[in-house]
């Protein structure tokens, strides 16, 4: 078991290292001088030279790379050019809306997908099952930003039930902030429920045909107990995996949805950084989000180890 953990850990470190390298390369593929691109056409030669010095772009690629790794190891993600603050601080300041939006969306997606997925598998081939499968496919085809706009048109503009945009004022209460997140979370939740629904249905179908389910039925247990206690418990591992991975994927959906609803989250930060060519911020956000994804994956693998004794080889 220790060997397995070490193997996975080593694999994770290698992937993490590659992630850092990819992020480093992306900024360096910019045609021309990144410093000149960042500062725009009005910058003087002196400004460009200063920025090149500040970013270390005047050194060789190898030195820049080693310096970048060293910087990351010290927990330094660099300095934002336009915000005049460290990238790590900028990201931390905007983490709250993104975190709660992701959490809220996952909750909504699970509340929609789990019961429907379980019922679909239980009544396989029925009208409800066919309808659920079709709806899941439809949900997966809707761009979350468009759904957000439609929801905004109906619930905010027409009925005035929710705020059109924003995250509440500076002194707003927690519940007020969550209230602002409702529509964006529904938009993201509905779209991502599709994947969870399909996975729940598939993994329930897998276990419903197993021997222990038949045994439970043969013992005379009620259907509710057979499905919810015996089958669901065993189907839960793959479902939890997909819920976890959806959380990571949701961060990417949040980028666009935050822009639609004017939420001051990481997504909004990235989009404005791109428009201002604030490369250190783009680089930092990309790195943190990818690292989170790798860590979530690793954590899920370790959870497997705890939950499922069969993995302990």
């Amino acid at each position: 078991m220790l060997r397995y953990i070490l193997n996975r850990f080593f694999g994770m470190v290698v992937v993490m290292f590659l992630v850092v390298t990819i992020v480093f390369v992306i900024v360096r593929v910019t045609p021309g001088d990144p410093a000149a691109v960042m500062l725009g056409p009005e910058a003087t030669q002196q400004d460009i030279a200063d920025l090149r010095g500040r970013l270390g772009l005047d050194r060789s690629l190898g030195v820049q790379y080693v310096y970048y790794i060293g910087q990351l190891l010290r927990g330094d993600l660099g300095q934002s050019i336009f915000l005049n603050q460290p990238v790590a601080t900028a990201l931390a300041d905007r983490a709250e809306p993104t975190f709660f939006l992701t959490l809220f969306s996952i909750l909504i997606a699970s509340v929609i997908a789990l019961p429907i997925g379980i019922y679909s598998a239980y009544r396989r081939g029925s009208l409800v099952d066919q309808l659920a499968t079709a709806l899941a496919m439809l949900a997966a085809s809707i761009p979350s930003f468009w759904l957000g706009l439609i929801l905004m048109q109906i619930f905010s503009v027409r009925f005035g039930l929710f705020p059109v945009s924003g995250y509440g004022g500076p002194g707003s209460t927690f519940s007020d902030r969550m209230y602002h997140l409702t529509l964006p979370a529904i938009a993201l939740g509905v779209v991502s429920s599709a994947l969870i629904l399909r996975f729940t249905r598939a993994s329930m179908l897998d276990v419903l045909g197993d021997d222990y389910v038949r045994t439970a039925r043969a013992k005379g247990l009620g259907e509710r107990s057979v499905v919810l206690k015996h089958a669901l418990k065993n189907a839960l591992i793959p479902i939890l995996t997909v819920v976890g991975l959806t959380a990571a994927v949701l961060i990417s959906g949040a980028v666009v949805t935050e822009t639609v609803f004017g939420l001051p989250g990481v997504g909004n930060l990235v989009v404005s950084a791109v428009l201002r060519r604030d490369y250190p911020v783009i680089q930092g956000a990309l790195l943190v989000i990818a690292a989170l994804y790798v860590l979530i994956n690793f954590a899920i693998d370790m959870l497997y180890l705890l939950i499922d004794p069969r993995v302990r080889y």
């Binding site: 694999g11 290698v14 992937v15 590659l18 992630v19 390298t21 990819i22 992020v23 992306i26 900024v27 593929v29 910019t30 045609p31 691109v37 081939g125 079709a134 496919m137 439809l138 997966a140 085809s141 809707i142 761009p143 930003f145 468009w146 706009l149 439609i150 905004m152 048109q153 503009v157 027409r158 990571a248 994927v249 961060i251 990417s252 959906g253 980028v255 666009v256 822009t259 639609v260 990235v270 989009v271 950084a273 791109v274 428009l275 060519r277 490369y279 783009i282 680089q283 956000a285 990309l286 989000i289 990818a290 690292a291 994804y293 790798v294 994956n297």
Partner: protein
């Protein structure tokens, strides 16, 4: 993830298509897709107005017999623009499919066939897939500068690892099959084995994954254009149209509604075709079993 290895349809291609079209969802998907392609190709003949024809007096007109989908903030016909936008959105999807397949299949094939290359390529695929698709595309567009070509290149970089992963997994299975061993025993060169025996049998997984890449690329392009990070806002794509309509919510809802429906329908049809293909090509996944 399931690994699909080609299962030739008994009775040849005709039976395969007949079986495909027997599924209502697939028939629906194929029909909608064909209609969308035809509408895009013949947009200049079908569109009632030129897509960029300004008519300020007719700005923000609601849908009517004259303007079926209404007009936008410059009095341009939303129907004509939606039709023309389809050309670009489908073009991006198709171009990304071709480019990411070229890269993805090559990488997957090399990783699956040569054990020495497997670990580095597999790790690279893992690392690339750690980036959320739209975020990686945004970063690449930011680095390369927004343009149609950049969007296609960025999305191809994003989706190539997804194809590579599927191709690698299938190649690992095919490599061990008796006919590959037989080909090797007959002294056929490795490139020939890869081309004739392995690649041909990889067509099914590539086809299935390819339809999903096409669908996702269209969604991602719309997202990028919506954020103003894709093609220039003056060029009509479904994403840029929705972005423009966003300013007129509650005032001209049709500006966002129709391009959005076009995205949903085209992506849905692609997913339906992809799903149907996967079910047919992988008997273990067939719903009717």
């Amino acid at each position: 993830m399931s690994i699909i290895v080609s299962t030739p349809a008994p009775g040849g291609r005709n039976t395969f298509f007949r079986r495909m079209l027997k599924r209502k969802a697939v028939t629906f998907g194929v029909t909608v897709l064909v209609i969308f392609v035809l509408l895009a190709v013949f947009a200049p003949l079908i569109a009632p107005y030129a897509p960029n024809k300004l008519s300020i007096v007719n700005r923000l007109k609601p849908p009517s017999m004259t303007w079926w989908f209404g007009t936008d903030e410059f009095g341009r016909d939303v129907l004509s623009r939606t039709l023309y936008a389809g050309r670009l959105s489908l073009l991006v999807g198709a171009a990304v499919l071709v480019l990411s397949s070229l890269v993805g299949v090559t990488l997957g094939l090399l990783a699956g066939f040569f054990p020495k290359l497997d670990t580095p390529i597999a790790r690279l695929i893992d690392a690339m897939m750690a980036f959320p698709d739209i975020l990686l595309a945004i970063a690449l567009v930011a680095a390369l500068g927004p343009s149609l070509t950049t969007v296609i290149v960025a999305l191809s970089v994003v989706y190539a690892p997804r194809l590579a992963r599927v191709v690698r997994a299938s190649t690992l299975v095919i490599r061990e099959l008796p006919y590959v061993e037989a080909a090797r025993a007959l002294g056929i060169s490795t490139p020939n084995i890869m081309k004739r025996h392995v690649l041909r049998n990889l067509l099914s997984p590539i086809l299935v994954q390819g339809t999903f890449v096409f669908a996702h690329a269209m969604l991602a392009e719309a997202g990028l254009s919506f954020l103003g990070l894709g093609v220039s806002p003056e060029i009509p794509t479904w994403g840029t149209m929705i972005a423009a309509g966003r300013q007129y919510i509650g005032q001209a809802d049709w500006m966002t509604l129709f391009p959005g429906i076009a995205i949903v329908l085209s992506v849905l049809s692609l997913q339906m075709v992809g799903d149907g293909l996967r079910d047919l090509l992988d008997p273990r996944l067939r719903k009717d079993l």
